[in-house]
């Protein structure tokens, strides 16, 4: 299967690969997927005082489309508030990367990763009592 240029670009020059300190109260960590399914995405966000995502990092085990999807959403969520980030839909990711039907699940995983990271951040804040 030939890859779309945007997928190749994100795959070869992935944006925001890495990790943030998961114990930092301002960091939310989302981990979705499963090794047995062939893809696992870890997405981390750091949220500033204004409630804006000022940094995002990812690590992904998965095919090129999964890596590209996670790379793309880290770019998209930076500078957004949590509620804005939650409006990102998998269909936008799939459209931007021109994913074929068999790769749509990669974009679903990216959307889930955002939700999971935000949920983690919010539950941390709730427990922290801030």
């Amino acid at each position: 299967m030939a890859y779309n240029d945007k997928v190749l670009d994100h795959y070869e020059n992935p944006r925001n690969v890495g990790s943030l300190d998961k114990n930092d109260p301002n960091v939310g960590t989302g981990m979705v997927g499963a090794p047995s399914c062939g893809d696992v995405m870890k997405l981390q966000i750091r949220v500033n005082e204004q409630g804006v995502i000022d940094d995002a990092k990812f690590k992904t085990f998965g095919c090129g489309s999964a890596i590209a999807s996670s790379s793309l959403v880290t770019e998209w969520i930076k500078g957004k508030t949590l509620d804005q980030a939650l409006t990102i839909k998998n269909t936008q990711v799939a459209e931007e990367l021109a994913l074929p039907p068999v790769k749509i699940h990669c974009s679903v995983l990216a959307e889930d990763a955002i939700k999971s990271a935000i949920q983690d951040y919010r539950s941390k804040r709730a427990v922290g009592g801030s």
Binding site: F61, G62, L109
Partner: protein
Amino acid sequence: MNLPIYMDYQATTPMDQRVLQEMLPWFAEKFGNPASRSHPFGWEADRAVEKARQEVATLIGADPREIVFTSGATESDNLAITGVARFYRDKGNHIITLTTEHKAVLDTCRHLEAEEGFQVTYLPVRPNGLVDLAALAAAITDRTILVSIMAANNEIGVIQPLAEIGALCRSRKVLFHCDGAQGVGKFPLDVNAMNIDLLSISGHKIYGPKGIGALYVRRRPRVRLKAIIHGGGHERGMRSGTLSTPLIVGLGAACRLAGAEMVEESRRVKELRDHLFQGVTSRLTHVELNGDLESRLAGNLNISFGFVEGESLMMAIKDVAVSSGSACTSASLEPSYVLRALGVTEDLAHTSIRFGLGRFTTREEVDYVIDLVIRSVSKLREMSPLWEMMQEGIDIKSVQWAAH
């Protein structure tokens, strides 16, 4: 060295130029129908076909009258299994095969089960990919008519103990069909020493043309088949259809060259294969070989790179043509059924890559691939959350993953 590098010799092999040269006159210049008995155009084509039939037979220790030309190993498998099942159905309706067989065997068996009332036992294999001979012996009943077991596996390259299987089948009076697509021409195969009753042969796996193959059908004791392609009664009624002289000449030449060069070639290819394996494992940890190392095709290396998904690795080494057991390369989302049958866990099955080396693989190419694989796996591991977890001491199997 030219890029891309071809390392997918179990998918197909480049045609040997010597084979091509022998084929060329038989397309336009010498176009006769080998079945034309009444003029020299037919006679010369017939002589070429019979010479090739002899060359195929010689490679496997058979008599030329035991060779039936087909369109390839898939057709040979279909003809052998369906043909035997339909001919011997009064004798029994039970067939035994392995879960790791090629789809040409498995799907033919499934069809006979679903549509024609046969019962098929799909025997599991041992973790090294080899048949469990005791389990095979135990599976044979008085209703069993056929055992179909491949010579060498297309994904993991393991070579089955053919002589032992053949002896067992002969002693229990059960026919033995062997899918030899990956084995014939790669290591010595003798239908008599191994008691093989039917043997499928492929042209394009042995540096010959695509679209041609053969089925060996034993004459003594005679094996009978019901034809699946009907018509003018070619190939002693077992396979009708005008013979393709150029393709058959090509198959014959490929078999002759394989027979002459097999020993030296497999020694050289195995050396390259071992060099690749050692090169990769010397600088990467968590690399696992799939399938037995000893009883294996010289040109096959199937390895799992832990924590790195197979398709993403193939993208990283896109100048090297290989294939992966990962689901992502196929329309289905299931990882390789062959690796699953070995008990390879799904997560490791997703990380497997098959390197296929052969006649035209060079040391320079292998060195290039070693270096590229090491760099790519290292880079992808830096991006892998599973690699990070492993380094933090987290057991990935202990994590509750949400399947999706």
